[in-house]
């Protein structure tokens, strides 16, 4: 990570909480449709990050052992497994498939 990224992300992350609690909150209270849209942003964007990390290599789409690991993680999340179990399940699946 660059120093610029560390500074910009620190401001961006902490600043959004302040903006949420004190500026956006009162604004959204009067606009329920906007509030609903805002609450869906993380699902769409974080999923895009997940997809990129799972099936892409640079700008090429590739299907490899990572996909199996993330699929196992998805199953574990759906079964409400603890965080540590999800993470270890994904790593173990991917590592095992690479070993064989």
């Amino acid at each position: 990570m660059t120093v610029l990224a560390i500074i910009a992300l620190t401001i961006g992350v902490w600043g959004q909480r302040l903006a949420g609690g004190f500026l956006v909150g009162p604004l959204l209270e009067r606009r329920p449709a906007l509030a609903r849209a805002a609450s869906l942003i993380p699902a769409a964007v974080v999923m895009a990050v997940i997809v990129q990390l799972t099936v892409a290599n640079g700008k090429t789409l590739v299907l490899d052992e990572r996909l199996a690991g993330v699929a196992v993680a998805g199953l574990l999340v759906w079964r409400r497994a603890p965080f540590i179990v999800v993470v270890l399940g994904a790593a173990a699946t991917t590592a095992l498939l690479r070993a064989v």
Binding site: M1, T2, V3, L4, A5, I6, L9, G12, V13, Q16, R17, A19, G21, F22, V24, G25, L28, R36, A38, S39, L40, I41, P42, A43, A44, V45, V46, M47, A48, V49, I50, V51, Q52, L53, A56, G58, K59, T60, L61, E65, R66, G69, V70, A73, G74, L76, V77, W78, R80, F83, I84, V86, V87, G89, A90, A91, T93, A95, R98, A99
Partner: protein, 235 residues
């Protein structure tokens, strides 16, 4: 990171077990993040400082994802900031539930994360909300800082992390973080649409842009959900 075990009961009080759950979750998240950061070429000290001050695994993962794909610095930073909108939204739901007093509200909303807000807002009184909020937050801090310290050390000695499947840990951790959102119908639709948009755009547009354009998934989820509501009204 899931708040499920404690979120299941109607008005949960934080027990020692819940504090431990919170600490263990943030511990594993911290270890994972540090190992991945160092594996991506960040020096151990810089990785430790970054995770201490940013304190957002999602943002740091998103930034790295764009850089890994060959994206520019600002594209990566914007991706990291957009995924942190989640915290702003959590602060929106937390702040009005706290006792009055600007300073106390500022301090709490600055620490809004998924699990602590999920537990705190279930308390019936403003004082209860504040008390449970800080108890869970304490667990997160303890786990996080021990985790990033251990991860910084581990990252230096692990060697080939691909062989250990650590590249799958990174997306798996994110999946666990947004797990609760994906349980709601609209959240699931937005997630699937955002993911599909990213896959389709990835080979064709500059790195970083697929993540930013996945915001279109929100519009798709709202359109689809409005459509199904109006057809239900019509039938």
């Amino acid at each position: 990171m899931s708040a499920e075990p404690v979120a299941a009961s109607p008005a949960p009080r934080l027990s020692l077990a819940d504090f431990a759950t919170m600490a263990i979750t943030f511990f594993s998240l911290g270890v994972t993040l540090q190992v991945v950061l160092i594996d991506n070429g960040t020096s151990a000290i810089r990785a430790f400082v970054a995770s201490s001050v940013i304190f957002s695994a999602t943002s740091q993962f998103a930034y790295l994802a764009v850089k890994e794909a060959g994206g520019g610095e600002w594209a990566a930073i914007i991706a990291g900031i957009i995924v942190a909108t989640r915290f702003g939204i959590l602060a929106v739901s937390l702040t009005p539930r706290l006792p009055t007093g600007t300073l106390r509200r500022v301090a709490a909303s600055l620490n809004a994360f998924d699990p602590n807000v999920a537990i705190a807002v279930q308390q019936p009184t403003p004082e209860g909300v504040e008390r449970e909020f800080w108890r869970t937050t304490a667990g997160m801090y303890v786990g996080w800082f021990i985790g990033i310290a251990v991860g910084t050390f581990l990252g230096d000695v692990l060697g080939d992390t691909q062989r250990l499947g650590l590249d799958a840990v990174f997306p798996a951790a994110l999946l666990a973080i947004i797990g609760n959102l994906l349980r709601t119908r609209d959240g699931r639709t937005a997630g699937i649409a955002g993911g599909l948009l990213c896959v389709v755009l990835l080979p064709f547009v500059p790195a970083g842009l697929p993540i930013i354009l996945s915001l279109g998934g929100v519009a798709i989820a709202i359109l689809l959900s409005n459509e199904s509501t109006s057809s239900e009204e019509a039938s």
